[in-house]
């Protein structure tokens, strides 16, 4: 058997092993989802959100189990394959007399292995039992409308967003604006007044600055602007433009 063919055999064995692992993880994920669902309906808070922890559980657990499981698990169930299967898998890239002999031996032994024997029926039965149990609990909770706290109602009554708004903005803007929606805020003259006031303030500041500038600063000359100015005037100009930039 060539290296390529033997690698395919090992890949097939690992694929079957991974499929079995994923099946078990899926069953456990179903239990996690149903448990989360039960807790959320007890607290009446968007039960569909239970899929988030279930998804996280599925991904993390599947990754952990697939990466930590090795061919030793198959060897433990079949003592005849002990040390031979993983030795053959680790040396799949080599081609020599002894490796080929081992490969042949492993192939003959693997043929006698029933992959279904790797499925732990007891574990499946326990997991299915837990899923059925939690399903019945959910049916019971829904049928009798059992709730510990109605979180949804509590949140909507508490008007959390309003409270937050009050805490952050009260005293800084008029109360009429605090509770308004965006459209009415835009039409509100108070906001327009505020904007006008700010604009006027800027203009005033700019006029005051210009009033303090020397008169001859705007006079044209045949020399370049900078050559006719004294150092003091140049400083005035620089400060003026800095402040204008700041106001903007």
């Amino acid at each position: 058997m060539s290296t390529v063919d033997f690698k395919k055999v090992i890949q097939e064995i690992e694929a079957v092993r991974n499929a079995i692992i994923l099946t078990f993880v899926l069953l456990d994920t179903a239990f996690v989802f149903l448990a989360g669902y039960a807790i959320l309906i007890l607290f009446n808070f968007y039960p569909i959100l239970a899929f988030i922890p279930a998804l996280y559980y599925f991904i993390s657990e599947a990754y952990k189990r697939i990466t930590t499981k090795t061919l030793r698990d198959i060897e433990e169930k079949y003592p005849a394959l002990r040390e031979k299967l993983r030795t053959a898998a680790d040396t799949a890239d080599q081609e020599n007399f002894m490796v080929l002999r081992l490969r042949l031996e492993v192939i003959n032994l693997v043929r006698t292995v029933a992959m279904s024997s790797l499925i732990d029926l007891k574990k499946i039965a326990i997991t299915v039992g837990k899923i059925l149990g939690i399903a019945f609990i959910i049916i019971g909770i829904s049928s009798y409308n059992i709730q510990i706290i109605d979180l949804k109602a509590a949140i909507s009554n508490a008007d959390l967003l309003g409270t937050l708004r009050d805490k952050l903005l009260r005293g800084h803007i008029p109360d009429s604006l605090l509770n308004s929606d965006v459209k009415s805020i835009n039409e509100n003259s108070a906001i327009n007044d505020l904007a006008n006031q700010q604009r006027l303030r800027k203009l005033l500041a700019q006029e005051q600055l210009e009033a303090n500038l020397p008169e001859d600063i705007f006079k044209g000359t045949d020399k370049t602007f900078e050559e006719t100015l004294s150092k003091k005037k140049r400083i005035y100009i620089r400060n003026y433009f800095s402040k204008v930039r700041y106001l903007e």
């Binding site: 002990r82 040390e83 993983r86 030795t87 053959a88 002894m98 490796v99």
Partner: protein, 317 residues
């Protein structure tokens, strides 16, 4: 040999043991470890008291494997040329010329008895031949025959006037084999056999030179799982980390040697893969001459074997 089923190799090696036991009673673990050295194309250090049948064992092994055997008794006056050979003047057709006369090192299995009695210069000449598998005399290189295997012995008593091999040199030997006194029943059989006046049974040739070379090649090809390689390295690095009893730990040469020795044990047991048990069993002869114990271990009366066994109990593959 290419068509030989691997499982039948176990029978082959059992037959070798059976043939050797016609002459050398007991000492099966010693024979196994010496065979390990041969299969790994490496050299073995034997530590043994006098009179335990080392020469007989190695000579019998050479006969069973149809290999040429030579013995050198190392003494303080042994010169390097006594081992590797020298140039002698030969006269033919009225003309004189130098001819290289091969030393005892030109053999397949060389038993260097009491190597610690030879001077460092002579030890170095032998170790160089072991390492390079060739000798250079008068600017001419002479390759040694394949397979070439050196069994050096050391006497743990009679340390007066000896030149113990330094640790850097003992590290070049794959294994250190301790030859113990035989069991009571075995010693009774030995006495009966060798006091009867009859010759010991003739041993059959089981393997030829080419078969030995092929087995050496197959030994290196035995596959080993990655986690067992890591386990091997863990064992060796643990000797460097264990400061409670170990002053100096083993080098990476020990890791290589341990993997090779495990492969040899696997093939001798008719397996085409290395198991964890192979590594654990070979760890002791591989490591015992490569670690130096500290005062605390000596104070508690611990031997290197005790320290290695305790260490192996704590490690898992």
């Amino acid at each position: 040999m290419a068509d030989l089923p691997i499982e039948k190799l176990k029978t082959t090696f059992n037959t070798i043991h059976a043939e050797i036991e016609k002459v050398v009673i007991g000492q099966r673990p010693v024979v196994e470890q010496v065979l390990t050295g041969i299969l790994c194309q490496a050299n073995v250090l034997l530590e043994s008291y006098p009179g335990l049948g080392k020469t007989l064992l190695v000579r019998t092994l050479a006969e069973v494997m149809d290999l040429k055997f030579t013995r050198i008794q190392c003494t303080p006056d042994l010169m390097p040329s006594d081992i590797i050979g020298t140039e002698v003047i030969e006269e033919s057709s009225g003309k004189r010329h130098f001819k290289f006369q091969e030393g005892p090192v030109f053999t397949n299995i060389l038993l260097a008895d009491e190597i610690n009695r030879a001077t460092p210069k002579t030890q170095a000449a032998l170790l160089e031949a072991m390492q390079e598998k060739q000798v250079t005399v008068a600017n001419e290189t002479h390759k040694l025959d394949e397979p070439f295997f050196v069994l050096a012995t050391q006497n743990p008593i009679e340390q007066e006037g000896t030149y113990p091999l330094p640790e850097a040199q003992t590290d070049r030997f794959l294994l250190k084999v301790k030859v113990d006194y035989p069991e009571y029943n075995d010693e009774v059989s030995i006495v009966q056999q060798y006091t009867r006046g009859e010759q010991a049974g003739q041993v059959r040739k089981i393997l030829g030179k080419n078969s030995v070379i092929a087995l050496q090649r197959f030994t290196r090809q035995v596959p080993i799982a990655n986690d067992l390689i890591k386990f091997t390295v863990n064992i060796v690095t643990e000797t460097r980390k264990n400061k409670q009893y170990i002053e100096y730990g083993a080098s990476p040469r020990a890791s290589i040697g341990l993997v090779l020795a495990a492969k040899a044990r696997a093939i001798m047991n008719g397996r085409a893969h290395v198991s964890e048990e192979d590594i654990r069993v070979m760890a002791i002869p591989i490591l015992r001459h490569r670690i130096i114990l500290n005062f605390e271990a000596e104070r508690q009366g611990l031997s290197t074997d005790d320290v290695i066994v305790n260490m192996l109990k704590k490690l898992k593959a």
